[in-house]
C-alpha cells in the first residue's frame, strides 16, 4: 500500500504544479490553461471539473461551482496571471463556491472497482487521486496474489462476491474515503477509468480514535 499523504501536502503539490519551471513538462493545470488559451474551452479542468469556460475574443468567462473559497482564489489568481498573455478581460462573477452542509469526519465509505489487470488498476488509482485531490484512508490494489486481504478490507458479503471476481481474473482497486468525497471518487472510477464496474460499500461511522 502507498504511504498516505495529507491534504495539505496534496494542495502544495497541486499549487507547485501550476508554476512549472521552463524546460520541464507542463503540469496538467498548465496544460489545461494552454489549451483554453488556444481556444479549446471544452476540455474539463483537471481538478475543478465543473468549471465552465467561455472565450469570446479576448474576454474569458469562468463559471460554475468550486468546493472551497481557497480553490476559487487559486483559480482566479491563475486566470489573472494570464491577462495580457492571451486574454484581455476576465469575468468570474458566475464562479461560485458551493454551499455545503455536509461535514467530513463523520462517515467513511469504501469503493471497489474491477479492472482487467494490476497495471490498469494502478493507473486508475493515480488518475483518481490526482484529479479528485482526495486523500484516501486506504488504497489497495488486490489481485490473485494478495486476495487474502479482502477479508480485512471488506465486509463479509462484499469479500465473498469480490473474491469470485478475482478468481475470474480481475484486479480490484479498493479505496476507503470520507463519505463526503465518495461521490467524486466514484464518478471518476466509474466514468473516467477503464473500470468494468464500481460498487460502494454502504457508509459507515468512522470509528472513534482513528
Amino acid at each position: 500500500m502507498r504511504r498516505p499523504i495529507t491534504r495539505a501536502q496534496q494542495r502544495r503539490r497541486s499549487s507547485a504544479r501550476v508554476a512549472t519551471s521552463p524546460g520541464k513538462s507542463p503540469s496538467p493545470v498548465d496544460a489545461w490553461w494552454a489549451s483554453v488559451l488556444a481556444g479549446d474551452v471544452y476540455e474539463p479542468h483537471p481538478i475543478h471539473r465543473e468549471v465552465k469556460v467561455q472565450l469570446h475574443g479576448g474576454s474569458l468567462r469562468l463559471s460554475g461551482e468550486l468546493e472551497t473559497a481557497e480553490d476559487r482564489d487559486v483559480l482566479v489568481h491563475q486566470a489573472r496571471q494570464r491577462i495580457g498573455h492571451g486574454i484581455d478581460h476576465l469575468d468570474v462573477s458566475s464562479l461560485r463556491v458551493a454551499s455545503r452542509q455536509e461535514k467530513p469526519g463523520i462517515l467513511e465509505q469504501t469503493l471497489i472497482s474491477a479492472f482487467p489487470g494490476r497495471v490498469a488498476a494502478e493507473y486508475a488509482r493515480d488518475f483518481v487521486l490526482e484529479h479528485s485531490r482526495v486523500v484516501p484512508k486506504r488504497n489497495d490494489v488486490v489481485d490473485a496474489g494478495n486476495a487474502d486481504k479482502l477479508r480485512v478490507l471488506l465486509p463479509e458479503d462484499f469479500a465473498r462476491q469480490t473474491r469470485k471476481e478475482i478468481d475470474s481474473g480481475h484486479t480490484l482497486l479498493i479505496l476507503k474515503v470520507d463519505e463526503t468525497e465518495a461521490f467524486k471518487v466514484r464518478e471518476l472510477l466509474d466514468e473516467d477509468t477503464r473500470s468494468e464496474w464500481t460498487v460502494a460499500v454502504p457508509p459507515q461511522l468512522i470509528e472513534a480514535g482513528r
Binding site: 476540455e43 465543473e50 465552465k52 463523520i106 465509505q109 469503493l111 461521490f183 466514468e191 461511522l205 472513534a208
Partner: protein
C-alpha cells in the same frame, strides 16, 4: 457499534449508527433553503401529458378518481425518496445500479422501456405545446414543433438546464390558478371530499384506462431516474438525506395538489355538463370560471411552461438511463465534447420525439395513451427499486424501514392491480 460524537456545535451527543449520525434537526429556515430540486421534479411530474390526463380524467369520470390521487401521494413520495436515498448511499445513478445489481438481462429491458416511454411522452408533450401555441397565435401547431424541439434541445445541450429550470417553474406556477378556478366553479364540496377519502371503483374500460393513466402520470418512471441522477450531480450524500426527503415530499405534494384541483375544476366545469375533451381548447375551458375569456391564454402559457420544464427532463432521464447502462460519461454539467454519447442520446430523443409529434394525428389521445404506457412500465421499476433499497448489503444502516417497504410494495401492488384490470377489460371489451 462504535460511538462517536457529532460535530454540530451543540451539546456533545453520541450516536450508534451511520443513519443516526446523519439525522439532522432542521429549522424552518433550513427547510425553506432546502426546497429546490424536488420542486423541479414535482413541476416536471405535471408535464403537458399530465395536465391532459388529469383534465381527461376530470371530464370523463368527474371526481371519481380523486381517492386514487390521494392514495398515490404517499406512494409517490416514498418511491421518490427511495430513488434519492439509493443514489446518496451508493453514490450511483439508477441505471448503473440496476446493471451492477441485477445484470444486463434485467437492467437493459427496464431502462429501454423507460427510454421508449419517455420519447413517446416527449412527442406527445411537443404536440401539446404546439396546440397551446396554436391557441395563442392561430398558426397551426405543426409549424411550431420543429422550432420548439430545437430550442429545448439547444437549452438542454448547451446551457445550464438546472438554472434555467428554476425560472421555468414560474411559468408552471400558472397552474396554481386551477385552485381558484376549482373554487369559482362551485363544485359540490361534499362530493369532492367523499370521492377523495372513500374509494369508488368501477370496472368500466373508461374508468380503468383513466386510473392507469392517472397512476402512470403521477408515479412516473422517468422521475425515478431523474431524481437519482440529480442526487449524483448534487453530490450531497447521506448527511443531507433529511433535507432531501423534505425537498422531495414538498415537490410531490405541490405537484399532486395542482393535479387534484385540475381534476376538480375539469370535473365541475366539463363533467357536470357532459362535455368531452377533444382539443386543447376544450381542456382550457376548465379555467373559465377564474379567467373567463383569458382561460385559453392562461392554459396555453401553463402548458408551454410545463413542456419547457418537463421535456428536457424526459430527454435527460433517457440519456442518464442509457449512459448508466453502458457506463458512458454522463451529466448535464459536462460539455458535449466531454460526454458525446450522453448528448447524442439527448439529441436523438428530441429528433425521434419530433418525428412522432409530426406524424401523430390526435394530440389529446397521444398525451393520454403515453401516460397509460408509463402506468404499465412503472410497477416493474418500482419493484426493482424496492428490492434495491431493501438490501442491507447495498444500503447498510440506510436500508428501508417497514413503513417505506409497505409504501413501496403498496405502490407496485396498486399499479399492478390497475394494469391487470385495465388489460383484462380492454382485451375483453375493447378500447372505449
Amino acid at each position: 457499534m462504535a460511538e462517536i460524537t457529532r460535530r454540530t456545535g451543540r451539546p456533545r451527543r453520541t450516536v450508534a449508527s451511520a443513519r443516526e449520525a446523519t439525522r439532522a434537526r432542521l429549522s424552518l429556515n433550513d427547510i425553506i433553503r432546502t426546497v429546490g430540486p424536488g420542486v423541479v421534479s414535482g413541476g416536471a411530474d405535471n408535464d403537458p401529458a399530465g395536465i391532459a390526463t388529469y383534465s381527461i380524467v376530470g371530464a370523463t369520470v368527474g371526481f371519481a378518481q380523486n381517492w386514487l390521487l390521494f392514495l398515490s401521494t404517499p406512494l409517490l413520495i416514498a418511491v421518490m425518496q427511495m430513488s434519492a436515498k439509493v443514489a446518496n448511499v451508493t453514490k450511483s445513478d439508477l441505471a448503473s445500479l440496476l446493471r451492477t445489481k441485477f445484470g444486463g438481462r434485467v437492467a437493459t429491458p427496464a431502462v429501454v422501456l423507460m427510454v421508449v416511454a419517455n420519447v413517446i411522452t416527449m412527442g406527445a408533450d411537443l404536440l401539446a405545446m404546439g396546440a397551446a401555441v396554436e391557441l395563442l397565435t392561430g398558426i397551426k401547431l405543426i409549424y411550431w414543433i420543429v422550432p420548439m424541439a430545437a430550442l429545448m434541445a439547444g437549452v438542454t445541450i448547451f446551457l445550464d438546464y438546472k438554472t434555467v429550470s428554476k425560472f421555468l417553474l414560474w411559468l408552471v406556477a400558472v397552474f396554481a390558478t386551477y385552485i381558484v378556478a376549482a373554487v369559482l366553479a362551485k363544485p359540490n364540496w361534499g362530493d369532492v371530499l367523499r370521492s377523495t377519502f372513500l374509494p369508488n371503483i368501477s370496472m368500466s374500460s373508461d374508468y380503468l384506462l383513466g386510473a392507469v393513466a392517472l397512476l402512470g402520470t403521477t408515479i412516473t418512471p422517468y422521475l425515478f431516474f431523474w431524481q437519482a441522477s440529480g442526487e449524483v450531480e448534487e453530490k450531497r450524500g447521506v448527511q443531507s438525506l433529511s433535507r432531501t426527503n423534505i425537498d422531495v415530499a414538498t415537490g410531490m405534494v405541490l405537484s399532486n395538489l395542482i393535479a387534484f384541483f385540475i381534476i376538480v375544476a375539469t370535473g365541475a366545469v366539463l363533467f357536470s355538463h357532459h362535455a368531452q375533451i377533444r382539443t386543447a381548447a376544450d381542456a382550457a375551458r376548465a379555467l373559465q370560471p377564474f379567467a373567463g375569456p383569458y382561460a385559453t391564454v392562461l392554459f396555453s402559457v401553463g402548458v408551454i411552461g410545463a413542456g419547457l420544464l418537463a421535456i428536457p427532463v424526459l430527454a435527460s432521464s433517457a440519456a442518464f438511463g442509457l449512459a448508466g447502462l453502458a457506463g458512458w460519461r454522463r451529466g448535464l454539467w459536462r460539455n458535449p465534447r466531454n460526454a458525446p454519447q450522453f448528448y447524442v442520446v439527448i439529441g436523438l430523443a428530441f429528433l425521434v420525439a419530433m418525428e412522432l409529434a409530426i406524424s401523430a394525428i390526435d394530440p389529446i389521445k397521444a398525451l393520454f395513451y403515453s401516460q397509460v404506457l408509463d402506468g404499465l412500465i412503472a410497477p416493474v421499476l418500482i419493484v426493482l427499486l424496492v428490492i434495491l433499497t431493501s438490501s442491507r448489503t447495498l444500503m447498510g444502516d440506510f436500508v428501508n424501514g417497514l413503513p417505506t417497504k409497505v409504501l413501496g410494495w403498496g405502490a407496485a401492488a396498486v399499479m399492478v392491480l390497475a394494469d391487470a384490470a385495465m388489460v383484462y377489460q380492454v382485451a375483453t371489451k375493447g378500447l372505449p
